[in-house]
Amino acid sequence: MESLQNVAAGFAVVLEPTNLLYCLLGVVIGMLIGVLPGLGPAATIAILLPLTYGVEPVTAIIMLAGIFYGAQYGGTITSVLLRLPGEASSVVTVLDGHALARQGRAGTALGVAAVGSFIGGTVAIVGLTFLAPVVAGFALDFGPPEYAALALLGILLVSTIASGARLKALIAAAIGLLLATVGRDAFTGAERFTFDNLSLADGIDFVPVAMGLFGLGEILYNLEERHRAVHAPGKVANVWPSRKDLKESSGAVTRGSVLGFFLGILPGGGATIASMAAYAAEKKRAKDPSRFGKGAIEGVAGPETANNAAATSSFIPLLTLGIPANATMALMFGALLIQGITPGPQLVTEHPELFWGVVNSMYIGNVLLLIMSIPLVGVFVRILRVRAAILAPVTALITMVGAYTINNSVFDVLLVVVFGAVGYLMKKFGFEPGPLVLAFVLGSLLESSLRRSLLMFDGSAAGFFTRPISATLLVVFVVVAVLPLIRAVRDRRAGGDVAGAPDAGASAKNREEESV
């Protein structure tokens, strides 16, 4: 089989010293920011985007991918020890992980989480290896109508699944699409929304937008939040899980791997949703669900396995369809574009060294992370002693200087600051920056696919429904768009408040406010 040869060639790519080094660098950074509450993987990847200009595409993506899945490992540590999730995908781990820590079994929780993460990640890489070429082969026949429908659906799903207000996420996405139209129109050559500014004629670069919204926006937001003190824990006892612990969690790890893998592939899915679903699944399956929240080892093993599996499998839509499934993948998409590579179904055949190099680097990265999170966990815990007050200007200055180096332009730095302010305000007013960045990245693909399709169909939108794949995707789009409306109307008629389990507290608060 030809692809087997490519897989082997991919290993050769990974084992080049530069790539190994960047893989190590990526997972260490990922682990660090996972441990530190505040900056998430999306912010970190955004801030470090300028670093990737100078290196080979495969090296760049290997490092960025390492940051992403490395953060899933690191986020666990603070969840268990401090009851402070370092990452959104480790929020549910707090419940049982911290309960275990209080019983003096922090080591068990961390050890099982690390082993589970390793297994989940590895299972997902194997799945990725076999599934990705199949999906890519299927997608090779996609034309502009399919791409238009796929991009629309992807943006809608990411916006509706986003945490927070759904409508606001959609507004953010639409504004992202609008931002993508700034600059010269590729079809007519007309200048759009440039306000006669030469710097805007070529459009707004993705990097300053991402660095501003995710990076600086997050930093500014944290300035305000920082007065909450975090006290670092002293020592972590034995982190080697016993055979009994491993046996008890083996079922949860298996289920978490499968669940995480599939939830990661879905647009709008990803590590956070996977971890929550895995926790819910474990609790439902348990003979005695009341153990959960009091230190059930499955409550750590399931979600931690699932978030790693999902972090890995969410590369599938990006690398095979060219559609990022979540905000972090949108950043990867941007990083590839910077390198002159458009992710899509041709990637596997046209750049096999990149595709297989990145996929196979994840094996190495996971082994490195396993080593770092069991024997070296104490070292990373010590990172928590670094005070946020000192870290904040460091990250801000790296962002600013990095932004300058992209094009040696002060205008870019200004754009980063402007988008940083926008990102901060968006957070304060309840808008998610994720959908905006995702829509911005997909904007030009969506517009050109739509316009090409209209040309194909002689200006009739009905043409989309003459092709089975685009028709199916658009039907799903309509269902996803309309379903919440129907549900809202029905709920209102029933007179009940929509109270999903995770935000029960918030809606109770809303009710309180309403009555005041």
Binding site: R83, T181, F187, H227, A389, F429
Partner: protein
């Protein structure tokens, strides 16, 4: 307005709770809800929705000016018009849906920290092409550590010098970038 969150009970701080609550997930959610700032409220929702509506209207007007063309021969403005209309419709819906204002975060007295931070960043942008990055970066770092972060003068000065030195070493020395520098 936010009568629900007037100070949090002391007994529920970390580590001290010996009695497990009936539903730990709910208890934790409640506790985090207490720690997070109150939602931005209806006025903020209205203001935000109006701002996004204005963006949509502005986009639509500009798009029409660009020429719409026909569906077979779309002009430069057709797609921007479509999105702008979507922005306006969604924003107006948000005015209605979000009138209770359950999301976002209220500005607090700590929000000044973010504003000062932003101002120093703009200062850095203004000074960067004139006197290079070292002095503005040093000042920014000092302000952030001392005044925004509450570090002592000693550690603020020490770490700021260290940070700028490392940045210089990395961006000017090791990477050889063209970032404007004085020295």
């Amino acid at each position: 307005m936010d009568g629900s969150s007037n100070g949090k009970p002391d007994g529920r701080a970390d580590g001290g709770a010996a009695v497990a609550p009936a539903d730990p997930a709910q208890a934790l959610a409640d506790e985090w809800a207490e720690e997070t700032p109150p939602p931005a409220g209806p006025v903020a929702n209205l203001a935000a929705s109006l701002v996004t509506t204005a963006i949509g209207v502005l986009g639509a007007v500009t798009a029409v000016g660009l020429g719409l063309g026909t569906p077979t021969q779309p002009g430069a403005g057709l797609w921007p018009l479509a999105i702008s209309v979507a922005v306006v419709v969604l924003s107006l819906a948000q005015v209605v849906v979000g009138r209770r204002g359950g999301d976002g975060e209220k500005f607090s007295r700590y929000s000044w920290l973010s504003l000062v931070g932003l101002a120093t960043l703009l200062g850095l942008v203004a000074l960067l092409p004139v006197i290079g990055f070292e002095i503005p970066a040093l000042l920014l770092s000092l302000i952030w550590m001392k005044f925004l972060g509450g570090e002592s003068w000693r550690s603020a000065v020490l770490y700021s010098v260290l940070v700028v030195g490392v940045l210089y070493g990395v961006f000017v020395g090791a990477l050889g970038t063209n970032v404007p520098h004085l020295f």
